[in-house]
Structures are given as C-alpha cells and as structure tokens.
Symmetry: C2
Subunit: 190 residues, 2 copies
Amino acid sequence: MKVLEERIRRDGIVEDTDVLKVDSFLNHQMDVELFAEMGREWARLYAGEGVNKILTIEASGIGVACVAAQAFHVPVVFAKKSRSKNIAGEVYTAPVESFTHGGVYDIMVSRRFLLPSDRVLIVDDFLANGAALQGLISLVRQAGATLIGAGIAVEKAFQPGGARIRAMGIRVESLARIKCMSPEKGVEFC
Amino acid sequence: MKVLEERIRRDGIVEDTDVLKVDSFLNHQMDVELFAEMGREWARLYAGEGVNKILTIEASGIGVACVAAQAFHVPVVFAKKSRSKNIAGEVYTAPVESFTHGGVYDIMVSRRFLLPSDRVLIVDDFLANGAALQGLISLVRQAGATLIGAGIAVEKAFQPGGARIRAMGIRVESLARIKCMSPEKGVEFC
C-alpha cells in the first residue's frame, strides 16, 4: 500500500537493521485517517469473505483494529495480556513468547466474544516473529471459529513470522512488507 | 447521551453496587459504530475549542479514542503503563493509583508527542476514582500543553473522581453518568 510505504519512508526511524520506530503515526501517536485508509484496503482485499468480527491484541493493535472495523461494520474484540491467573472456563488463553521483553506471557479472550459461528479477521500493527499472531490464531481455533485471515500494517518480511503463518495455509495481507532496512540506506520494501 | 444509556441498560451487567460490566460493547468487545456516535457527540460538545490532539491511556481507552478522533480529524496519543524504567528526559511520567489491582503504576508518554502548542482533549472509557484521569492531566501539564477537557464514556457519579476533577476547573463531559446501581434495580442515571 503506497500511502503506508511512503509514510514509513518519511516518518519511520530505522534504528538498527531490525528496529523500526513508527511511533509518530502507528503505535504511540496514531494517525487515525491513515488507519481509515488501511481499513478500506483490508475491506477491499477481504471483500466477500463474510468477516463478522475483528480480533486484535492490546495495546497497539487496538487503534488500527477499531478504525479498520468501521470499514467492515463489525465489532472488535481485543485479547488481553494477562498478568493474573484467569478464572478457569471463562476465557480462552494462549502463551505468547515475547522477543522484545523476553519470557512468555499469556493472552486471553472471553469465551462469550469468540463463537463457533464467527468469521474472524485478525488485525495487528506489526508482524515479525509471528508470536502474537500465532497466539491469536490459537484463540480462534479454540473457539471453533472460522479464521478468514490476518490484516497486518507492517511486516518485517526478513523475519520468519509471515512465512511461517502463510505455510499454515493462512492468508496474511500486510500493507507494507519490509525486505530489509538499515540506518544508512533506510527501508526497502518487497 | 440516550443511545449509550440505553445500551448500558440493555447489555451492561451490574455485578455489585459498584461493579458494572460493559465488556460486550465498550472495553473487551467493542462496538465501533457506537464509538463513532460518541465521537460525534464529543465533537459537538467541544466544537470551536480547537482540539488538535486526543490523549488516552492503554488499553481500553484506545479504541474509543481512535474512533472518536475521526470526528475531530486529529491524531491520538496513548499513555503507556510502564513496567520498566524509562529513559530519563525522553518521556513525561505520572504515578497512578490502581483501585482494581492495588498499588501504584507509572504512565508515560513520549515528550515528542505532547507539545506546548497542543490543545488536548483527554478521552477514556471510565471515570470512577479519577486516578487515571489525574495522571493524564499531569502529563498534559508537564508538557505545558493546553487542556481543553475530558470526554468520558461512563462516569460512576457516585464515586469521587468526577467531582474532584471538575473542582480543579476542568471540563468533563461524560456521556453516561451513573447515579447509583444494584443487581436488583439495575442502573439509574443522573
């Protein structure tokens, strides 16, 4: 998606060959008009798939998921990163490995909001190792819902997450796919 | 706001005289079309105030803030709940007392995204004791930005937060103000 690629080139900060800061428009300060364009693009890509729910994960996925959901006219459910023990039976949970902070945390979603009749699109801001996305996929599977695919804003295509998820037969639509990057040369897209 | 009050009456679950669950449409599953109506209402209430930025706090404030921001055509910045030590000088921080989980946590926002020239509207899903809102107000003050007011979805008017913040001379527009509630009698609005 040209407009997102151009925005990354203009306002993204490449701190390292694998660290891209997009906090001025994507995941700290958020450009909601850009999010609306991204939502319309996912709606075009997933037209006719009968998506009736968008699933995302706190915190930085929530903004883009909520704005995008308006293009689908569907509700959003966000998975919570749990710090406390959960009440057995009320939630679906999945472990997620954190590459940023180290260790493993659990994500959870209430069973009341993921149903076997749901046709779910997962939306998130970043795809790198795919750990969070795999956790979200697990929640959809546990609920017996239909997974339509994933809508990702920025995919680091040089990391293994995207290839791994697609190899599972899951459709992934990333609006900007980064082939490689460096502080000297900037970002190169696929 | 009638539509929000009716939704709370219909889908809110009063678990106790001070616990209201609205997780089916406000803070776990999220009705983005309701959020858009709420955004238009805040835009009407704060028309002519020159709001150029919306500030909220992770996680459940982000969805309503992002959808509402579309009615203002402004970006959103969300304060993060920090678990780690922050790099001195790069962020504004404020302590927030947690009544739900106990203890005190820090919230933080990058100095790059709150400027003295900003005219800030704070948006959040709930106002009860006002601890999170006071933390957000502190961030705005530290930045030297102008605080226009707060847009709150649900205010528990029987708890002291709203009165305390208004006594500071800050405008607070809550779209549903709960006077009292109980599992037997349901919710009564102000």
